[in-house]
Every structure is written in structure tokens, then in C-alpha cells.
């Protein structure tokens, strides 16, 4: 059986999830939605993804044909031929869409722009794949939460407890967004602590975590500056933590100075060299020479490609909901093999 996947919203995240699903052997795209005819439709057409309208309104549906695009119907039509829908619509539409998905009787996955409360369930591969087996719907956590989970969960699993403070230095706009600023300022998130860190507890409640966040004038990656207190008697060293992360899926640990990759500019350049679509980096990048364990307190930096680290998580999450792969590491391996490019790190 091939899992039939609908993508509701074919923008920054939607186009990437569709591409990653399309690359797998056990699932296929049965359709993607757009609000109206636009350049994004060409991308769907060329990829061979059936095009649907975000709305069921017949005049909006016929607008596609008027612009020369073949449109297969409205959202309801799409939901009726799918096993699972990945909601990649802009935020704040969650509650409304949830009703539609439930009415259609199919599984559903929301993104991290929605609150945990919407579904009462959240997901990230390394933290709680097994909790999501067979559930009706869930939320793949945000890029930041996913990034924190990747490095903190293995640390927690080893140590048994963890108390974390994270300062998130966030890119203020995505590369394709020319509207948002600031051009020359640092903008602290004045809600303190910020919501970012504690969101990790939706997938791993045992990790104690808080965060502070600022936005800065860059478009390419977030950086996390992390201070984690390990329980005494943890038995770890800087070296053994490096080793742990080198063995962790979807984490890249590289020496910055030796490889001349000391900023997010060079990290993204390396990602372009790797050759994935859109120059994406699904992995979390940890600077090896920025990791330092001082007594029980661990310091490290990691960089997050905000547009793509959650993409493979959505693929794994589909398998969890459909109950087709119970072992998270097996799913991760399958997903990544299909979307990796010629050049494996």
C-alpha cells in the first residue's frame, strides 16, 4: 500500500514536504493546494502534483482554468482521495482546518506555527515517534524546537535529567521575503522567558528548559547559544558529547576553524555544495570547537536551517500516524536515504 498524502498549502514548507514525500517509495502526493493561480502553480505542474484549490468555492476553482492551470477541485475533493493531510497553510487557520480534516475522516499533521493545544499531540522523530503511532493527528514542532530536540534528547536519554537555558538568535526574515525588517537592529522578544524553549516539553516533558530570543538582520539560519546543566555524576566529557552527537541522526558536528566554516554564511555554502534541493540543510549544525563542558555545565552553539529541518520529520510523522514504521531510527534512515543527494557527509 502506498500512503496517499495531501499537502494543504504549497509555500515554503509545503513545497519542500511535497518534494520529500514524492522521493519516498512508500507514499505519494495525491494533490497540493494553492489559493489561486500564481507562479507557484508552475512548480506543482512541472513536478506532476495534482493541483487543487484551497477553497471549495467554484468561482475560485475556475480561476485556475482561466489562468491556464488544470485544477482538480477544492480542498474537500483533495481530502476525499487522501489518507493523510499535511497542513502547511499559514498560521492561525488551524482550528478551522482541523474541523475539515476530521470531517473528511483522514489523518492530519500540523506545523509548529500552530499551538500544541490544537491537537494535544506533538511530534519530533528522536523524541516521541512511538507516542504518535496510530494517532489521528499531531503537530510537527517548529524548526527551533526540532533543533533543540535533536541535540538535547540524546543528552537527556544518557543523563536522565537536564536543565537548559537557550538564547535563540533568530533570522528576522526568510531568504525569499523582502518585506520584513529590521535592516539594522536587534529585536529582543520581550516576553521573557520566550515560548520557544518550553515548547520542547511538548515532545519531551522531562527536559527542563527556558529560553530568551532576539531577531537579527539575517535571512539564512537561526543560531542557538545553549547552556545545559547535566546531573552530577553524568560521566560525560566534551569529547564523549561530541562523539554522541556525531552518532546522532540529522546532526552534523564539524570543526569551524579547521574547516573555515565559522559563521552561518559558510554553513549554508556547505549546504549548497551538498546539493540538496533549495540548498537545504535538514541537519542541525553544531560547531565542534564551540562545545565545552565545564564541570556539569555544557556550553554549545548550533545553527538551524529554518526552512528545512522539519521537512524529513514530516515524512517520519506520516509513517507514525499511519502505523507503517514503529522504529524511529528505521524511518529516519529510510527518509534520509531517499532525499539525500549525491554527497553524503
Amino acid at each position: 500500500m502506498t500512503i496517499k498524502v495531501a499537502i494543504n498549502g504549497f509555500g515554503t514548507i509545503g513545497k519542500r514536504v511535497a518534494d520529500a514525500v514524492d522521493a519516498q517509495t512508500d507514499m505519494e502526493i495525491v494533490g497540493v493546494t494553492k489559493t489561486g493561480p500564481s507562479f507557484g502553480c508552475d512548480l506543482a505542474v512541472k513536478k506532476g502534483f495534482p493541483l487543487y484549490c484551497t477553497f471549495d468555492d467554484s468561482s475560485k476553482i475556475s480561476a485556475f482554468a482561466d489562468a491556464g492551470y488544470s485544477c482538480s477541485g477544492g480542498l474537500s475533493d483533495l481530502l476525499s482521495v487522501a489518507d493523510v493531510v499535511v497542513d502547511c497553510s499559514p498560521g492561525k487557520l488551524g482550528a478551522e482546518n482541523l474541523e475539515k480534516y476530521k470531517r473528511a475522516g483522514i489523518k492530519y499533521i500540523f506545523q509548529g506555527g500552530e499551538k500544541h493545544a490544537l491537537t494535544g499531540q506533538s511530534y519530533t522523530s528522536s523524541a516521541n515517534h512511538s507516542d504518535n503511532i496510530g494517532v489521528d493527528g499531531t503537530r510537527v514542532v517548529s524548526c527551533n524546537t526540532t533543533g533543540l530536540s535533536r541535540t538535547l534528547v540524546p543528552l537527556f536519554d544518557y543523563c536522565g535529567s537536564l536543565k537548559v537555558e537557550c538564547t535563540m538568535i533568530r533570522r528576522a526574515a526568510d531568504p525569499g521575503d523582502s518585506k520584513k525588517g529590521p535592516i539594522n537592529a536587534i529585536a529582543p522578544v520581550l516576553k521573557v522567558p520566550s515560548h520557544h524553549g518550553p515548547d520542547v516539553m511538548t515532545v519531551k516533558p522531562e527536559i527542563e528548559i527556558n529560553s530568551l530570543a532576539v531577531a537579527v538582520p539575517t535571512t539564512i539560519m537561526h543560531v542557538h547559544a545553549i547552556v545545559a546543566d547535566l546531573p552530577s555524576g553524568h560521566g560525560l566529557s566534551t569529547e564523549s558529547i561530541i562523539q554522541m552527537w556525531k552518532e546522532t541522526p540529522r546532526v552534523i558536528v564539524m570543526n569551524g576553524v579547521n574547516n573555515r566554516i565559522t559563521t552561518t554564511a559558510e554553513v549554508m555554502e556547505m549546504a549548497r555544495d551538498i546539493g540538496r534541493k533549495w540548498g537545504d540543510l535538514h541537519e542541525i549544525f553544531v560547531w565542534e570547537d564551540g562545545i565545552s563542558l565545564q564541570g556539569d555545565r555544557l556550553y554549545y552553539f548550533q545553527a538551524i536551517h529554518q526552512e528545512s529541518d522539519v521537512i524529513p520529520e514530516n515524512v517520519d510523522c506520516i509513517r507514525a500516524l499511519m502505523g507503517t514504521e514503529e522504529d524511529w531510527k528505521a524511518s529516519v534512515a529510510k527518509t534520509d536515504a531517499a532525499i539525500s543527494s549525491y554527497y553524503g557527509l
Copy 2:
């Protein structure tokens, strides 16, 4: 016969030219050079390109082996197995390298960072492919000159004369370069007129052109603001110029407002969607709604992807030097078919 191509310098331009050559059926990469072992070597290894040292010094050559990379020798060794070398070394090494290439008795191609005087010959597909058939060596002009040639040459060919002023708004650093500024300033090039525009005359001497240039705090593309005076009685209209450029190879003409592609951010996002390696855009992007012919004076804007527009030109140039394809349009078609991605505009 397959043309044997050496790449001297495997950086921003070199890695892309190697990739593009590798994609062609009539040529192959016989080796690429690096100054020493580094992350860039991995990329060559994974692509299967034989690795050579930029120098002939045996201790520098053996440093590769020490770092775990198989190195096939020094530059002289590489030149001895090649038909043509594409020089992608950093600027200012031209004169020194030229001697080596001549001594090796092979054809050579320099990049636009070198002066025309070095080779006495310059190249861009649409302007003077035929002038370069069978010559010993030439220079593929810079990204800016290439961009100007793409749109100005067909206009000149139609009109018979052309007088042009161009203001070049240049990206101050490449995406992978975290050292250069400015962060918050505009930097005029105080040599007036700048060298950029007149360089077009190295490939098309009949076009009269001057330019002014500024650098601005962005990394992704240059923009040209162009004012071109057509000869009276030219018979063109805004619409016929749009049509001319739509039929010109390696020029994309799109309506900015209708397609929501009004800045270089959205142009580069479209390029990522197209799916070429590194998110490159080999074509010059001209905003259709930014073209306006007022009497005999033509105004337009074009965006230049500084990292990649010259890449296919190098491939065509190899064919010109080797004399294997005399028709520039045939070469362009062959080159582009091989490096285009799934999604043709």
C-alpha cells in the same frame, strides 16, 4: 573525441564549471586543483574528480595524502593530461599561470577577474563565439559584462548602433563570504565612469557604453539600471523589445508585480524552486514591467546572479577554442539542455 578539461582552482566558479562540464557528453573533467587539503576536497572526491595540487611542490602534494585525500600530482601533471584548462584561480595570478599553460601547450580560458590585455581576446556566447573558434586562449568576461551582453547584443544586432549608460548596484559580498562589508552603507566606485560597462566593448566593440557602480549590503545578486539610446528610426516598441528578449537564450523576462517577484529576494527564491545546483540562475532576469521605451530612449532593470551566469559561457567557450561547435546557438542549446533541471521556464 571527448574534450579533456582541467579546472585550475576549485572555488566558487571552479566547482560550478566542473559540475557543468561534467554534465556534458562531449567533454570530461580530468582533474581539479586545490591549494591544500580542506573541505572543498571532499566535494571533488564525491563527484569523482581527480584531485591535483595547485603547486608542483612535492611537500605540498604529499600534504593531501597526510590528510587522507588521494592527490594525483601537481598542476603540471594535470596540464599534461588536458586539452584545455579553465583558470578559476583567484585574481592577479593570471600572468604567472598563462606562462604555465603556454608551456604545457594546451588551450586556456581565464575569467573576468583578469584583464582583457592578458589574452588580448575575450568571450561571451552571444557576442563573439565565432571570433574565438580555434584560438589558443581567451577570457570569459565577468558576470556583469556577460549580463550586459545578453540583453544589449540582440538589441544592437537589431538596431545597428547603441549608446548605453548603466548604473550597477552590486552585491558587496558573496553568500558564503562573512568577512566583507559594508553592513549598513552604500559604497560608490569613485573611479568614474567605472570599468564595468566599457568591458562590454572587449566582446562587442561597436556598442558605446559607460557605467557608474555602487556596492550595497546584499549578497545575492547585482542589479543593473540601464538607459540605452537607440538610433532614430529603430522601429522597436516596448512590446517588441520584450518579445525579442523572450526569444533570447539565457534571458528570463517576467512580470514582477503579477508574479510577486519584485526584488532580488524573490528572483533567487524562484531560482531555488527551479532546482539547479546551488540554487543558481544562469539566466539574466529582466523585469517585464520595468522595461519602458520612451521615444528613442530605453529604460530597464536586470538582475545578475554573480556566482553563476558565466558558468554555461565557459562550457560554450571550451567548444569554441576546441573548434568543435561553430554555431553559438547550437552550443548554448547543448550546454543548457545538459545542466537544466527538471523545471524548464
Copy 3:
């Protein structure tokens, strides 16, 4: 008689005009308006400017007292005690405000954000001070138009005719604005030619001028790249043009390379050193080494401090409307002496 000046709108422009008016001996501030209590009110209070509400609504007026600010009434109250009002309200309120000013029977000055058609009259000191003597109301042209007038009008006055193309490289947001982007893009103004250049003709109709414009990710200054065709037989040289501008009020001509002032960053740093309020530079900055006359075609760059070049123009304009100073150079000298800091260039 001291001219009684009202400032309607106490923001970026309004606070500066108020400060400049306050520094003169022949005029005084009788009040400034704010829409409601906020940090900006403190500035007015400390400067001793009577505070009025932008609206005549009594509940809005009393809101000031509730926040601890003494408010002298609504806009109508302010207009009733003024001879002239300088409208520094955000754009698009022009038509509505114009009615109020006429009803109050006082003179009025709008800013360049409003269209020429609103008043049918525009102003800049060097171009048409005498045309504005005694008129009921006018519009001080925008920072860009003011900048172009400063250097083009003396050139025109000397030559008798002038045909100009200007590419405007514009700062995308003001220093205190953290909302607007782009962070990493160049945004061409796709209306071609742009409205900026031709606006010069509202103050000097004989100058033929067009322009192209782009916005770039910087906050501090605009730069103009200008190409001006002089009539044949003009008799000027690069040196004599430099000399002309050195003798022109409110134009600074400095060698960029020799003074290490090669970008707008160093120009603004020099302005801070001069010691004017807000680090303003009322003058247009022209790079001496960026001026080049090639035959009849003149090339040059100039930098515009968008927040402040129009400030002294508003002061001169008040004198024109009130008919108290018919000689523009005398007014300029008086204005500038009063607002200059300890350090005269």
C-alpha cells in the same frame, strides 16, 4: 514681528523643523501636535513647545492630561494662534488638512510626501524662492528632489539647458524604523521612469530629467548616480564644476579617497563629528573624486541625508510665504548660521 509657527505632526521631520525654527530669531514655535500621549511628548515638553492634540476631539485632548502632559487644545486651537503651519503629518492626509488650514486663514507648508497638485506650488530655496514670496501655501519638495535641485540648479543656471538621467539608490528604511525590509535584497521601483527625477520640474521646469530607482538594505542615506548632458559649448570642466559646487550653499564637496570618506558610513560619521542635532547632515555630499566630465556628459555621485536635507528649506520657505526675506541666499545664510554647530565645514 516674530513669525508664529505651528508644527502639525511632531515625528521624524516635525521634530527637526521645530528645532530649526526655534533656533531662528525671526520666528518661534507656538505649538506642536501629537495624536496622543507618548514618548515624543517628553521631547516637546523639555524643549518648551506647547503641546496640542492632532484632533479637536475633547476626549482625545483630555487623554494627554490623564498621562501627565499639559495639552493646550486641539489642532483648531493651535491654528488660531499661528501665522503659518508646517504640515509634517504622515502622507495621504494632505487634502483633509488643507481644508482646515484654509479655514483657519493661515499660510501652510506641506512636505514632499504630498503631490504637487495638492497646492499647485512647490518650493526649494535655490530653485524658486522668489516664486513663493507671499503665496498662501506651498510644498517643500522631497529629500531626493531637494538633493537634485541643489546640484542641478546652479549647473542649469550656468548652462541654460540640462538633460539628466539619475539612478537613485535609496535607503529602504529610516534608522529608527525596525519594521521595514528588505534585509538582503535589491528592490527596483518597477514604475519606469520613476516619479523621483521628474519632480524636480515642479521647482525648475526647464530641467529635463528622468530617473530609475532601487531600494537597498541600508538605513542611513540615499545615493544618486547622475548622468547629465550639458549643452555643447558649455565651457565647463570637471574642475570648474567642482569649484561651482564648492561655492553653492548646502553642498559639501570632498575628496573621498584622500579623506577616507568613501561610503555613506563615513559621510554620516563625519556628520556626527560636526555635532548637529541627531547627527544630521543638511548639506548634500558630493564626492569630488567621483565627478567626471567626459565631453558634454557629466557623471557624479551624491549622498542625501533623507531625514534632514529639507529641514532648513522649511525655514526659508516660511520666510518666503510671509514675505519677510526676498533674497534666497540671505535667507539661507540666516537659517544656516542659526542651526550650524561649533564646527563649520
Copy 4:
């Protein structure tokens, strides 16, 4: 007696210290040094500061006269007429200069670019003024250390102990610097923990502190994201900490959302409104709505004007070294009254 102050280096810091010293009644500038004639000399001349050459070399001294500047001699000449020298030369010259100052037998003050070890003594008003009374020489700590001391010292003095983690989000270049990048990247300082936080212990050894640092593409201010652990039983609340800092000299506590000052762009705009020279903000800016005490853990953000927060510290430090004011609060009040503008916050 008026203290005779020499400024060695008249750049970003030197010109500001000279200006602040000049504004005091108990000290005067006897001279400032420049390496050679340049635009910066004009500023000294206009201010009436005697100009000296950084070197004692007679040909370098005569170069000033050749360029039309009156030069009073070399560094030795300046030192011979001074009671104290403030070293504002670029970093790395410390050891060499120290010898000269000792030889001249005068007091000396270095800046935070030099290491504590150079003098074995460091200074910041609120932390250790009394330790510096009458010493031969000291080092005014860096802008970041000064900023941390301002808010942490009163907290420590109240609580008796403090354990702090600080993430420093640093501006990558000063406003007048157009050379340095990055334009679009975040650059972590891979030495972990960074040197910034622990430097606080040179003035207040009892505060336990570490830090992580990143540089970001902005020019105007640093931001500190701070997590401080108070000892149990501290008896403080968010409100009482706000009150404490409101009563602390050179700290501004303002509500960001209510005052629409939510980023460093608006903080700097407020500073320009205040009207100090160069638009400086000598105070540390703390967002009131970004302060949150959660149990014993305190979270807050503060913004640092890197060009100016140390300026008044240098004035106080002169009084400490000369032994003319033993009460730090009295010195601070005297210094600030002299350099404050019309508008006191």
C-alpha cells in the same frame, strides 16, 4: 587645580573622551594625538585641542604643518605637560605605550581593548572606584564589561552572591566602519565560554559569570541576554529589581511596548532625540517588560551603545587616579551633569 589630561589617539573613543573631559570644570585637555594629518585633525582644531603627533619622529611631526595644521610636537612633548594620559590608541600597542607613560612619570588609563594583565588593575565607576584611588594606572573595562557591571553590581551588592550566564549579541561593525562584515550571517565566537563575561571579575571578583558571544549584521548596539541566579532568600521581586535599576546611575529602564521602543533601532532614535553629541547613549538601556524573575532565576535584556558607555567612566577614572573625588556617586553626578544635554531622562 585643574587636572591636565592628554588623549593619546583621537578616534572613536578618543574624540568622545576629549569632548567629555572638556565639558568638566575640574579638568582640561592639554592635547590630543593623531598619527598624521587627516580629516580628524579639523575636529581637534575646531574644538581648540592642541594637536600632537603620535610619534616623536620629526619628519612625521612636520607633515602636519605641511598639510596646514599646527602641531605642537610629538607624544613625549604632550606627556611632559600632562598629569594623566588616556590611551585611546588602537589595541595591541599597550605594552609599548605603557613604558612611555611610566617614563614620563604621569598617570595612565588604558581602554578595554587591552588585557587586565597589562596594568593589573581595572576600573568601572560602580564596581571599584575606591580601589583605584591614587593608583598609577588602570584600565577602564570594555563597553560590554561596563554594561554588565552597571546592572549586576547593584544586584550583587544587594544579594551578596550572583551566578550569571550572558549571551552577547554583538554588533559586527561600528557605524562609521564600512569594511567589516558579515552582511548576512551570524558569527559565533567559538572560544567557549567567551572572554567577555569573565572580564567582569576584574572589577568585581565575587560575581561568578560566564558568557557566549555571537556577532550579527548590525552596527548600532550590542544586546545582552542575561540569566542570573540569585541566592535563595534574596527577597527580591521583578518589581523591586526594576525599582533598584531605576535608582542606579547610568541605567535607563523603560517599557518597550508602551513606549514603542522594542528594538535597538528605536533605542538609538531615542538617544538622538536626547541630543547628546554623536547621538550617544552613555546609559545602559534595560527593557522593563523584558525583566522577569522566575523563582531565584532572573532573566533580562539590556542594550549597550558600544561607542559611548565607557566615556563617562574615563572621566570618573581620572578623578580616581588623581585622588580628587573618593565618592564614586559624587563623581558620576558631576560627570553626567556636565555632559548631559537639555533633555534629562
